[in-house]
């Protein structure tokens, strides 16, 4: 199958999944809302209703893309490390500490914050990898547990050192202007973070498809026994994939606190977005170059649902249903219904079946 056809097929499947999910959302809105048409309109057209909402959509998408990228990197190595959330909190906390320190008065705090956040995230990513390589600890369990530790530790640091007395221990003072990512479009959240996200996508693509490390990683993910048989040190690959993924998670933390959206650190600033990176990675089939598009599409639905939650009588949780249906349809490798039936009445057999002799 050619690449072009593959992309076409996948795109068609995703769009169809999204259409089914939207239809379900529509049904729910009709049941739940007193003014269904207005509600649905808010859901579908809301994100484009103002410069500010468009900005929120783009910013959310950049964050979703980074989260998806972090997951896709470990998923390609067939490691199910789920530690992105913890990495975001660790990275965000370090970046906030730098922004609130005297360094925050200089632009240096932006690259320094990003770098320190990546290091913190990488360290958190490294732990479950190392534990798996040396102790055979299950990476799902250890990475999830680390999420709790990182979250609570971040809260502790916030309350002890970073919080301002004015905010009642739940947020810091606003960072100095020099420590906040410059906005590219005034009065929106479209800032340096978008560039960082796209740059990360390009770097991860390059690492995966143009370096020997990336090929080793993908071969390990395809068939770990084959990798071992070929002489690939799969433990090194596994640990380094988790570490690199952790660095992306950490960077996402810096993006949060130093971005236009916050410009300060707040309790629970990540708001559960990290885990939605799993959906992005699954729908994009772990392909880095597909991730920005999937993130934009999903970010749009997410933004629409959020606006619906603020502006209408239907809660934003509808997005959870949409998310579930999309995952179910994409992950289950469905084919368009009716194809087998169509083939039967046309006299052939299912075209989906590969010819074998």
């Amino acid at each position: 199958m050619t690449n072009g056809k593959l992309i076409f097929d996948e795109t068609r499947r995703i769009l169809f999944a999204a259409a089914v999910a939207l239809l379900m959302a529509l049904v729910i809105i009709f049941i739940a809302s007193k003014t269904p048409f207005e509600t649905f309109n808010t859901f579908i057209a809301g994100p484009l209703s103002s410069k500010r909402t468009i900005g929120n959509w783009i910013d959310d998408s950049a964050k979703l893309a980074l989260a998806g990228l972090a997951f896709s990197l470990v998923f390609q190595a067939r490691q199910f490390a789920l530690g992105v959330q913890g990495q975001v909190y660790a990275g965000g906390t370090i970046a906030a500490a730098i922004a609130l320190s005297p360094l925050g008065m200089s632009w240096v705090s932006i690259p320094l914050g990003a770098l320190a956040a990546m290091l913190a995230g990488a360290f958190l990513g490294f732990i479950p990898g190392y534990a798996k390589a040396k102790l055979n600890a299950n990476e799902i369990v250890s990475s999830l547990m680390l999420n709790y530790i990182a979250y609570d530790f971040a809260n502790l640091i916030l309350r002890l050192y970073l919080a301002s007395a004015k905010t009642g221990l739940t947020a810091s003072e606003a960072f100095p202007r020099s420590a906040v990512y410059p906005a590219f479009v005034q009065h929106t959240r479209i800032d340096l973070g978008v560039i960082l996200a796209l740059g990360s996508v390009a770097i991860v693509w390059f690492l995966l498809y143009r370096t020997a490390w990336g090929l080793r990683l993908r071969l390990t993910g395809h068939n770990a026994r084959f990798a071992a048989y070929s002489g690939i040190r799969s433990n090194f690959i596994m640990v380094s994939a988790m570490t690199a993924s952790g660095a992306i998670g950490g960077l996402l933390g810096a993006l949060y606190v130093q971005g236009q959206g916050f410009g300060k650190i707040v309790v629970g600033f990540e708001g559960g977005l990290s885990f939605e990176g799993i959906l992005i990675a699954i729908v994009a089939r772990n392909r880095p170059l597909a991730i920005p598009f999937v993130a934009l599409g999903y970010g749009y639905l997410r933004q629409g649902a959020a606006l619906m939650g603020y502006r209408t009588d239907v809660p934003a949780e509808v997005i959870g249903i949409v998310q579930g249906i999309v995952i179910l349809l994409v992950a289950s490798s469905f084919t368009l219904p009716g194809r087998a039936f169509l083939n039967r009445i046309m006299g052939g057999t299912a075209a989906a079946r590969a010819p074998s002799t």
């Binding site: 020997a212 490390w213 993908r218 395809h222 068939n223 026994r225 084959f226 048989y229 052939g348 002799t357």
Partner: protein, 515 residues
Amino acid sequence: MTPFLQAIGIDKTYPGGVHANKSVDLTVSHSEVHAIVGENGAGKSTLMKILFGVEQPNAGEIRLDGTPIHLPSPRAAIAAGIGMVFQHFSLVPSFTVAENVVLGVEPRSGLRLDRKRAAETVQALADRFRLPVDVEAPVERLPVGQQQRVEILKALYRDAKLLILDEPTAVLAPQEVVELFAAIRSLTEQGRTILFIAHKLPEVIEISDTISVMRAGHMVGRVPKAEATEAGLARMMVGRDVALKVTRAKPGERKHLCRISGLTIKNDRGLDAISGMDIVLRAGEIVGIAAVEGNGQSELFDAIGGLRPVEKGSVELGGVDITAVPVDQRRDAGMAHIPEDRIATGSAGGATVAENFVATELEDERFVRHGLLDLGAIRAHAVKLIDHFSVRVNGPDAAIGTLSGGNMQKVVVARELSSNPKLLLVSHPTRGVDLGATEFIWQRLAVARDAGSAILLTSADLSELLSLSDRMIVLYRGRIVAAFADTTELTPETLGSYMLGFAEQPENERRAALA
């Protein structure tokens, strides 16, 4: 007398454009064993799928006992008395044999499955057709040969008059093949008809009454058993003379390349799979290992290949001790490995052919510089190997998982031979591979041997071992029980008695052949 089954003018083109059957005729008589042979891709499986209602022909007619029948689905085929055993079994592992056999048409008492009656019926069926199997055992605990019997019983329980067996011997050990053939004979004696798809010609000639040969979608011949010869059938299948003969290594002094001393290896259950093995391998020879499946040969190859730890003893290759070093260092020392399972071990199914070729060469300056892939060189390397080994593939960017078994095996063989190894481990090199590719792979192994490789070979196919090996050893329960410095006079019968543990060579004779 009307033939039992007649297929007339069967034509099948797949939606992808593959013309798999071109006006194929097939006539099968009552109570005979009818074999269909042909290379991979000749259209045998398609024809069988049509007869079992899995695929629909574009043209043609199927007659059973002279009556035209229509088979829109496997269900219709079963109702017409046609059963099929596929290569990949469809059994529920945690269910017992009896439960698996009756699944779908269970005897009931009220709403519940009548276990007792199910077990009795299945037992009676097994006794009648000489298919001994423990009907109360869960299927997952049975060896492959017995699982196959369960599949056959499933078809018989549904009262199949015609039983289609798709390459039934591919998964079986030699002993199991003997048992299967006994069962097949008892089936035909009791009026059942067997349609048998196969690769291995000696087996086909042994069991069949009539042999139909397919090539490139055509039915090219129908040969009664009396007139069938291996060479003749091979010529019909491939369309040219096939020389399944390999020249032996030229005699002469050969230097020692690999020394295995006191090697002990544990199996997955912690028991000794190989105990205290000593052997020296020399440059330019093939050493064959004959053993019944499960006598330590898999563990031996895994351990030398670096996929399993060595318990005691040492392996030395060209002066380097490789007993406990990682796989990449073994490969640097000159080891290469054609593993027994090309899918589970020998390839990364989702990756491209080019990536599979280069997987073992990622330290090589030709393909990787400063950690960056040289995609052009990798592609050129793949194109070259595809060409040299006549791999049938759309191009180096095709996923290897889309290749047929024989072509996938060629990719593995090409990759492993391309490094000009000193020591080549070869496990079942032609399992499930068609005749043309088998001939090709054998010749390539002989070329590698003549270029100075020491080759350690094992195969479930004794004729393959006897054709290729310059020296042979027999493993029984992890120990070398016999060794032969000269294989020209060796017969399968002699090997068999050692393989089954009936005999053991005197110590001094063995020693002489191992040095």
